[in-house]
Structure formats: C-alpha cells, structure tokens
C-alpha cells in the first residue's frame, strides 16, 4: 500500500508539473464553463423585461400606474387576461405577470399586488424590486399614506430550464469524458517511452501502474467537478439539487466508465499520437450526438439510434438529473445498466488486447 501511494504521488507530480495536463483537464473545462455560461446566461448589456399586466378594473389608479410603467425604458408592457399572460409566462415570453387589483380607497388594509415571475431566471428578481419601487413612487404621488400596496411575489418555475442550467451538467459530462478518454493515452506514452518497461524491471506489479493512473483520474475528476459546480453556483446561480455523495457517486462512476472506454480505444494505438487521433475521432461526434449541450429533441430523428448507443448520453442524463433536477429521460436504471455495460465490455476488451510492449 505504501508502495502504491508513493507511486500515485510520484505519478501525480510528474503529471501536474506538465502544464498541458493542467490546461486540458482543469483549466479548459473551467474556461468552457465561464465562456458558455456568459453566452447562455443571457441578457447582460441591453436588459429588457417583458411584463404582462392584468388589470382587473380600469380606474384612476391603474391609469396612473400604467403611465408610470410606460416611463421605464427597460420594460415592454403587455396587456391581457390572467390566463393568457400566465401561459405566456410559462412559455418564457414574459418575465413576470402583474395583477392590478381593484382598489378600494379609504380602507386601511394593505393591498396585495400579485406578481408572478419566472424564478429560474435570477434577473427577474431585479424586476420584482423595480416594480416595488414603482409602486412606492405611485403611492407617494397619490397620498401621504406610506403603505398601501405590497408586492406579493409569486415565483413560478418555468417549464424549460435556462440554457446555463442545462449547460453545467453538460460541461461536467464533457470534462469527465475527455479526462477518461484522453487520460488513457498516457499509458501508451509510458509504453512508447519505455517507462513501463523500466518499471517492469523492478518488483512493482504492473497493475499498480494502471491503478495509480486510475486513482489519479478520479482525483482529477473530483477537482474538475468541484470547480465547475462552484463556478456554476456562484457565478451563474445554478441551483444544485443533488447531495454531495450523489454528485460524487455519479462523477466517479462516469469517470470510471470513460477511463475503461479510453483504455479499450488505446489498445489499438502504437504511439501517443495515434492514440490521440483515435480518441479525437471518437470523442468529437460523441460530444454533439449525446445531447449534453442541448436537449435531445433538437436532433434529427435518424440520429436517434446513434444517440441511444452513446454512453455520454446516459452520463449526461444522470448528471442533469442529479445536479439540476431534470427528470430522467431514460430512467436511472437504464442509465446505470447501459453505462455499466460499457464499463464491463470495454474493460474486458482492454485487458484482452492491451500489449505491455
């Protein structure tokens, strides 16, 4: 065990001192997260809110209020019935829907103004705040009473998630796949550079070498996951619904699957370069056909069988569900079975065809 740990530490040192390793396996997914997060979290710069307004009883007050709303540049006001506007909210055509109640003046009671808004978009909270301010303004103009209205915010979870939510599990899936697949090329490199042979002349069992490589992959997977989730959570406000052990379980399982597939693929490679080539050919289409970056419905029907065969599809499904709580597209059992199948088969093939020299 001590021998093994020392080997892990030595291998880790050798790897992390190579700046390329750090770039590809740590920095690259992080950059990806930032870049796409920025693109898809949407709307920085020219902010515009679509506000649905439902007027129960047109009167002096509602006119004054609407006139005030009209002066706010960032707002596009839509009028309609409650049902119509709420439906538009569900389709993400509105950021919020405000219901102006009939106002009975003279009563001391505060008047609740229901505002329905899409809670999955953090920017809408700004809108709620803005609306409260507008009410305050209107009130002050009308009478000297401090409080008439309270904005009664009613969060409504929109049906489809924001792109950035969808993106986070996608990036994590991609990172795990690349870690597993490209990481396996290192064994070819070690063989090509005869480092495996040199180690083979010592009492160190060969399996130790492979296991230390795998342990390091899992460590790196944990680091990647942590970074991506932290960035997603703190920078882009993605809500993680799963517990830590669920997330780590899914991540380790996914990493293990792709490490095995990687080892299976590189059994056919004689050199480091050809290893990279093979992996590249496999990972690139997989990334786009697995639906990790956009919902599967967007893919043409004739590609569906391919999609259903790709392991990344199922890892994406698990991670989406565990991380952001989308319902399983295929069911957890199916996901686990298919990934487990890939794991087993590729492990058997890798062990069968791998040549130590």
């Amino acid at each position: 065990m001590k021998i093994f740990l020392n080997l892990v530490v030595a291998t880790l040192k050798d790897m992390v001192r190579d700046k390329m390793t750090i770039f590809w396996f740590i920095l690259f997914p992080v950059l990806f997260m930032f870049l796409f997060g920025m693109i898809f979290s949407g709307g920085s710069g020219n902010v515009n809110f679509d506000l649905g307004v439902v007027v129960e009883q047109p009167d002096f007050f509602s006119q004054a209020f609407l006139a005030n709303l009209g002066q706010v540049e960032m707002l596009t006001v839509h009028h309609g019935t409650l049902e119509g506007e709420l439906e538009a909210l569900g389709q993400q055509k509105r950021n919020a829907v405000l219901v102006l109640p009939q106002v009975q003046f003279g009563s001391d009671e505060e008047i609740a103004v229901p505002v329905y808004y899409d809670a999955s978009n953090q920017a809408n909270k700004v809108l709620i705040f803005m609306l409260s301010e507008i009410f305050n303004h209107v009130e002050r103009g009308m009478q000297n009473r401090a409080r008439i209205f309270t904005v009664d915010a009613k969060p409504v979870q929109a049906e489809s998630l924001r792109d950035v939510d969808y993106l986070l599990p996608g990036i994590l899936s991609m990172a795990l796949m690349q870690l597993g697949l490209f990481g396996s090329v290192r064994l070819v490199y070690l063989r090509q550079k005869r480092i495996l042979k040199s180690l083979g002349a010592t009492p160190l069992p060969r399996t130790h070498i492979v296991f230390s490589e795998i342990v390091i992959r899992l460590l790196m997977a944990a680091v990647q996951t942590t970074l991506i989730i932290l960035i997603g959570h703190f920078v882009f406000d993605v809500k993680i619904v799963g517990s830590w052990w669920q997330v780590l379980g899914a991540v380790f399982f996914g990493a293990a699957v792709f490490v095995s597939i990687g080892y299976m693929l590189v059994t056919f490679a004689k050199t480091e370069e050809s290893g990279h080539g093979i992996i590249q050919v496999v990972q690139f289409p997989m990334m786009f056909l697995s639906g990790i970056f956009f919902p599967l419905e967007f893919l043409p029907a004739f590609l569906k069988p391919v999609v259903r065969a790709i392991p990344l599809t199922y890892l994406g499904d698990i991670l989406r569900s565990v991380l952001i709580g989308t319902p399983y597209a295929f069911g957890l059992t199916t996901d686990l079975l298919i990934l487990g199948g890939w794991l087993t088969v590729s492990l058997i093939l890798a062990i069968r065809f791998w040549r130590w020299e």
Binding site: A10, K13, R194, I195, K197, T202
Partner: protein, 304 residues
Amino acid sequence: MASIVVRELTKRYGKLTAVNQISLEVEDGEIFGMLGPNGAGKTTTVEVLVGLRDADAGEVRVLGFDPTTESVQLKRSIGVQLQMPTLFPRLTVEESLRLNANFFPDPFPAEQVLEWVGLKEQRKVYTYKLSGGQLQRLVVGMAIISNGRILFLDEPTTGLDPQARRNLWDVFHMLQKMGKTIFLTTHYMEEAQYLCDRVAIIDHGSIIALGTPNQLICDHFEEKAVELSAMDGCDEAILEKLPGVTKVQAAHNQITLYSTNVEATIRELMQLEAENRLAVNDLAIRKASLEDVFLKLTGRSIRQ
C-alpha cells in the same frame, strides 16, 4: 556458488535468433562482462535474465529463481539498469531515486547513492533536463539503490566522460567488496579489462570466447602488437611476409602487425624503410589487449 546459471539459452524474435544456445555461469561476488558488437544479443540476454523476456529454449537460474515463473521474487533481489534510460520526465533526480528505492525491501539511502553517482548537485533537477551522461548516471544509480544481490547493468558507462566512468568503476569495485555480483555489458575494452573478473564475447547470438581477460589474450595472442602509421600507404602483402608476423590489420594508414618475433619484424621494417619502400611513422610496440582479441574474433570493422 553460482549466482547465475544459463544453459543453452535461446531467444528468437520471429525468424531472427537473437541469442543462440548460450551457456555460462556467474559466481557469487564476481564482476562478469559481456562484450559483443551491436546486435550481438547482449541486451536480449540481460532482459531474459531479469525476467523481462521469456526464453524460447534453455534453462536459466538467477539466485536460484526461474526468471519466467518466479520473476516477482527475483526482481526483489536484483537491481536492473536497462540500456535506454527511461524515466518519468518531471520527477527530480532525487524523487526518481526515492521512487525506485520504495520498490525494494532494503534499499540504500538515496543520499548515499547520489554521492556514489555524483549527482548531489543535480538532486533537484527534473530528469528531462539532465545531460546524457547525468541521465546515464542516474539510471545506474536507480539500479544500485535497490541494494540487490546482483546488479544487471546494460552498458552502464556509455556516454560518460572519462572521470565519471572511472568514478563508477570505483563504485562497482566497492559494491563488489560488499559482496554484490555484477553482470554488465560494455563496448569499452579497457573497461572490461580493468573491471571484469571474467568476460564473455558474444557475436551473432553465440558466445565465441569466455574467460578472464588475460586468459583470453593469452589464448588468442602469443604475439605482441606492432603499431605504425605508413605515410604513403603500403602493400599489405609485403607486411604479411615480414618475419614473425602472423596477422596484419590495416585501417587507412594505421597498421597493426601481430608478431611472435618483434625484434626480427622491426629489423625488417627498418630495412624496408631504408630501401624507401615504406615510410614509417609513430612506431610502437605493445602487448596484445582485449581489444585485439575482440577484433580478431568478431572481425575488424564495426557492424551497424
């Protein structure tokens, strides 16, 4: 007792027979050298002995272990330096030594080995930044640190400067005094002559001579060597007819005559010069060396 016993060992790569029925025994505490031209089968032999390759035929025992079936036990008690240095590129010298030490039950302290191979100043340098000779010293050190009972060293001093080479010879002698057995290959005849208790000369996979360096010289040369350079070239046929001369080797203007009667040979040479049939330069007489034996047995020019 014999540390290494090899009987009729044969190793083939496809059709090529790299090692052909060689037999040898290496005694406990002996420094044994294997000499041979490029491609002779030295590395192949070493790799079979340390359990990296399986023999096709024959019997091998190293410290009583069969390298094929008992390689794990065997590897725990030997140190191995392979011909081409290969290390984790981004570990330092010291880390590499310690990593290797960690694989063995009773290694030498890294500090000690750094001193022996003269890499104390480079201890913090990544291995990929080492010079060729420093790298070579490091891999020899990594074999030594095992504190194994036998050291297998495949061309341990190739690429070293003369000081570093002599320095390693001292280390090997010291290790021998500690009771280690050393099996090494080399292309340096003076190294074999100085360092090895016995040498085997191998060519085309077969052992063509085996014995102590002096024994080999005596067996193959009663003659002494007369070296000269002939300024305008010369006719080998004339030289061969000189009294006492048994063999002539000529490369460009450098000529070596092997003679059983040096005085007669030289007298006749002078005569030739007086008659202006030969312009002799740099005349020297010396005892035959291991190199002479090697060249006689394996042919004059180096094969690629």
